[in-house]
């Protein structure tokens, strides 16, 4: 795992698989690098496993992933599984760890397709054992066939919440309640985008179908809940919330949270690529052009890691980045590339049509963007929203300075779970736009690497000169 490759694709979800296969089919030699033991990404997790739950539970959309993994298996793509990338450089070097050893390769082109993470949903008590993301619930179902039988509450906003509820019901699970936090005002805002969304009505039809399943099973469905609080003595025992001025409490042992997903920007940030604030999706988007090309030569982006569009959009963007990188590598003739890219772009526009409606409808409630003072914001270092506000009072001007004040973002998750929240709090306290407040400077390794793994870094390129100074601080 050293030396030079033609195209390296990072992430084996829909975008990465599509990019890798497309470029390989154009004649490029491609390696696909992924942290998981099997392809699929999070959305198609365990799709190649014989033990996965059936279509009757997970649905047709999930089964579509098998088409991608089949074409991947039939391709010439070299898939490096269980391999963790911990640095990508502008010179297109990729550092990674596999089986306890570190490696470095250099690629002529890179497609970064590292997907999304759940948007953090901080509120008092969200760190209690028993609270997890809805995505975690789906992973438990897909990989281990685990279905909650009692004590489950789902809370938050967004289509995934309804999807996992329906999947659990089909699998014979029990749901105490689905507590929706979508603010009432979102419905009015979203209405404006409804005509656009109706250009691609499939998404809306599916959503209504899921809601019908919940109604059929008479699942308790609370709407417009606010002031969430998870309580329990050392572990989760109940969810409290307000609705229409009244306090409610639902006993539970598992609370699954979801308020949408956001691009995982650790690699693109560590590359110092420019990122734009998406005010509608309330997340950062690494800048790229219509082909997924970034300002760094030979580095392309595709899928939810570059902006949230969902699995089908990710697959189309993957194809586009795969074709564009093949063209850049010279394995696809420019004229042919243009025709095929145009076709994929037009499909992409069609698939993107419902996004403004969905983004407006499921825009996160402000109480989870800048949560109350007693909420732990940085889970690793246990820094509260109130502490972040107090640092602002002491003259802290941005997210990077909060690290020095109170170590937020400096734990092992490297800011993944608090980055957005810390910036949102500072923006709200200082009445400055997010684009100005900015984000943590993300530094490699973007996943922790042991001293032993780094010491044994296999590197067939000349060692840099040891320009040491005896007199260093």
């Amino acid at each position: 795992m050293t030396g030079r490759v033609q195209l390296a694709v990072i992430g084996a979800g829909p975008a990465g698989m599509a990019a890798a296969v497309e470029a390989a089919n154009c004649g490029a030699s491609v390696v696909l690098i992924d942290e998981q033991p099997a392809p699929g990404g999070q959305i198609y997790r365990a799709i190649t496993s014989a033990a996965r739950p059936g279509k009757a539970i997970l649905g047709d959309d999930y089964e579509n992933g098998a088409k991608l993994t089949d074409t991947l298996a039939a391709s010439t793509v070299d898939h490096w599984t269980a391999t963790t990338v911990w640095q990508v450089t502008p010179e297109r070097e990729i550092y990674m760890t596999r089986d306890g050893a570190s490696h470095r390769i250099t690629a002529d082109a890179i497609v970064i397709a590292n997907g999304a993470t759940e948007r953090p949903m901080p509120f008092p008590g969200w760190t209690l054992p028993g609270v997890m993301t809805a995505g975690a619930g789906q992973i438990l179902l897909k990989t281990a066939g685990l279905v909650p039988q009692a004590g489950l509450v789902l809370a938050g906003s967004g289509p995934l919440l309804f999807l996992i509820a329906a999947q659990y019901l089909r699998a014979g699970g029990a749901i105490e309640a689905l507590v929706e936090t979508t603010p009432r005002s979102n419905y009015r805002t979203a209405l404006r985008h409804l005509p656009g969304a109706l250009r691609t009505p499939g998404y809306l039809r599916k959503g209504l179908g899921l809601l019908a399943e919940l109604r059929k099973h008479k699942v308790r469905h609370v709407k417009t809940a606010t002031r969430l609080q998870a309580v329990g003595d050392g572990r989760l025992q109940a969810l409290r919330f307000s609705r229409a001025g009244r306090q409610h409490e639902i006993a539970c042992t598992t609370l699954m949270l979801h308020i949408g997903v956001v691009p995982n920007v650790q690699i693109t940030r560590a590359l110092n690529l420019p990122h734009d604030w998406d005010a509608l999706q309330r997340c950062w988007r690494p800048r790229r052009d219509a082909d997924g090309a970034t300002e760094l030569d030979g580095i392309f982006l595709a899928g939810d890691g570059a902006g949230i569009g969902g699995a089908v959009v990710a697959e189309l963007e993957g194809r586009i980045a795969g074709l564009a990188s093949a063209r850049a590598l010279g394995t696809l003739e420019t004229g042919k590339a243009e025709a095929r890219l145009a076709a994929e772009r037009s499909r992409l526009a069609q698939e993107m049509a419902p996004r403004p409606f969905l983004d407006a409808l499921y825009a996160p409630s402000p109480e989870f963007l800048a949560p109350p003072d007693d909420t732990i914001v940085c889970r690793c270092e246990e820094v509260t929203a109130g502490q972040i506000r107090s640092y602002v009072g002491l003259g802290c001007i941005g997210p990077n300075q909060t690290k020095s004040f109170g170590r937020s973002g400096m734990g092992p998750c490297q800011g993944r779970l608090c980055g957005l929240t810390v910036s949102e709090i500072i923006a709200s306290e200082t009445a400055r736009p997010m684009a100005e407040v900015g984000y943590y400077r993300i530094r490699p390794p973007i996943k922790p690497v042991t001293l032993g793994e780094l010491a044994a870094l296999h590197d067939d390129q000349a060692a840099a000169a040891d320009r040491s100074l005896e007199n260093a601080s």
Binding site: A51, G130, A136, L146, G234, L236, T253, C380
Partner: protein
């Protein structure tokens, strides 16, 4: 101590076929499970205490992002339980605060 698991396996899926140890206690698991999934399946929801305040935490994201499911696996501290697949006989221990200096001081 685990509470009774509130999760059940799908009836038509593969059986739990291996045994791992969590804090010295035998836990049945299914080949292909991650460590974190196997512990949740068995009702173990608190899988570490934090180095900052000593409070209990359990798996949160299950996809390698949050580092809440850190456990010691076969003597190696701070492994992400959601990123490691179980093996028969695997020895897993909850992390209790910060890791300790390895034994065998020269």
């Amino acid at each position: 101590m685990p509470s009774a698991s509130t999760f059940a396996r799908l009836p038509d899926g593969p059986a739990e076929d291996i045994t791992i140890l969590f804090n010295g206690e035998a836990v049945r698991a299914r080949s292909g499970d991650t460590v974190a999934a196997a512990l949740i399946a068995a009702g173990h929801r608190i899988t570490r205490t934090t180095p900052v305040s000593g409070t209990g935490r359990g798996p949160y994201c299950m996809m390698g992002a949050c580092f809440e499911c850190l456990v010691e696996i076969d003597g190696e501290p701070n492994r992400q339980g959601c990123m490691v697949q179980v093996r028969d006989g695997m020895r897993i221990d909850a992390m209790s605060g910060a890791r300790k200096l390895a034994e065998g001081n020269p």
